[in-house]
Symmetry: C3
Subunit: 213 residues, 3 copies
């Protein structure tokens, strides 16, 4: 079994996604088991939902590597928990690179399963973004990606680029690089210039109390 460049990015993404879950679990004072589950769900939840929709066996059941990387992230979080909230920029970069790859993998798996390109965009976005939604559900809070940051939207853009490259008849490698690159670029630019999507309704005076329920 040889390990390709894609695999390495995949593992880095899994590690970074798991760390993102573990940090939130640490803030909420979860115990070790709870923290591990939140890390695991963040890392593999999106791909699992995609595989269930496609009628496939969840990918981590057929390849134990993802559990190993989540376990490594857990050990890292336990050993270096005092430093867990440093290195924000490093984690952000890894997380973003992983996001780009997850979107490409999700899109391609949907196409391989015979889905239309529109469904593939949804599957790519699900692969990249649903894990974070499940993480927030386990934390009993409104999903972060629904209220701030261009995160899921970067996944959609990556899927649209993938579809556009397919339409133009570009090769697979070019297509996947362009799609992953557009996800990463979108997120980096949105973060750098603090760009967000409009809200459906603006905040008004006195709304805070209503919203905090």
């Amino acid at each position: 079994m040889s390990i390709s460049f894609i695999d390495i990015i995949d593992y880095i993404g899994t590690f970074a996604f798991a760390i993102s879950g573990l940090r939130m679990a640490a803030i909420k004072h979860f115990d070790w088991f709870g923290a591990f589950v939140v890390g695991l769900v963040t890392a593999v939840g999106g791909g699992t939902m995609r595989d269930v929709c496609l009628g496939r066996t969840p990918f981590w059941m057929e390849d134990g590597t993802y559990l190993v990387w989540t376990g490594t992230a857990f050990l890292f979080a336990v050993l270096f928990r005092k430093h867990l909230f440093r290195f924000n920029n490093t984690f952000f970069i890894f997380d973003t690179i992983g996001l780009g790859l997850f979107v490409v993998v999700g899109f391609q798996k949907a196409i391989d399963a015979g889905c239309t390109q529109w469904v593939a965009i949804i599957m790519g976005t699900m692969t990249g973004a649903a894990g974070g939604v499940f993480r927030d559900i386990l934390l009993a809070q409104v999903p972060l990606i629904f209220r701030k940051e261009i995160y899921a939207m970067a996944c959609v853009i990556g899927g649209l680029v993938y579809m556009g490259c397919n339409f133009l008849g570009l090769g697979l490698t070019t297509t996947q690089l362009a799609a992953a690159g557009s996800v990463i670029l979108t997120r980096l630019l949105a973060m750098r210039f603090d760009i967000g999507l409009p809200l459906l309704t603006e905040y008004r005076d006195g709304d805070r109390s209503e919203e905090e329920e």
Copy 2:
């Protein structure tokens, strides 16, 4: 491809369910992406869970119309967001008609998949009511249908009527009209006369604070 009367009701129901999700997302100040996801999950979440339980491909992956109607509801919500909280009665009627149809579709798909009638009642109720539960989970709040309104119970009654008609050997059209009609009638009557299910435990003085956690 011809569009039948059933299709039209199905699309109206999808639109009305999506609007119900979009309104809640607007109250919580979700961004456009978050609002769209909440609308989509409200509209197709119940049917998706049913299809996963039945081992089928989720219906919206095989027919893009449902995404189009959710997108239409989203555009409507963005364009007319100042009026999103008017027309309560109109939305309520559409929502209720859609509910009746969703229950019938869910029941029939379960029977087609070889389930018993008891399981079909659950599948019909799931189709009608689970989307709203997922919506409330994404909003990080206790599902509304667990605390007020005869909503899910109307789905169960519709399923029981369906089963009763099958038992009596009535034709398919009669059966489906009776089942959908009983869902609609139950909900309209419950709303009109403010009928609700009993609570498992009554409120007592001082309970509020405990319950609000």
Copy 3:
């Protein structure tokens, strides 16, 4: 159809898990329908998630007995709701015995489906513990098992014992008794001596307010 000893334990576990959901629903003042759903999800949610991951039809769709026992638990909760919060120790024992069996059933079904033993440990833990997580999601609260009690960890230990017995080549009955016994023993000892897992981060002064969000 004869009923085996295993079946009886299975039904007791289903009843006890459903009661656990119904009690929490009662505290939150759910209506009858909501309470029934929470009881049902607590009882069959873990096994349903396992079956979906394994690509099987959820077990309760093929055997109505589980719905009957959940219904019985519901009737019990309605009739004896004033006593629902007594008999804590009795429910705890039933719940723990059920947990041991659920873990063994989940592990064995995963092996039967061709999974590796590591995946089987996850499936056993999922069968035992995921229902309680879904219950807490429906109650819009952080899953209890992520913050207190050796509960899910007992499932993992049971899975490890199962794997160890397989490694030693012990017979099926011995293996299953040892695995279920280790789940039960772990939980009883943890409860008796108030043992919990470490938290990923300790509480510090002033953390309470942050955590209560």
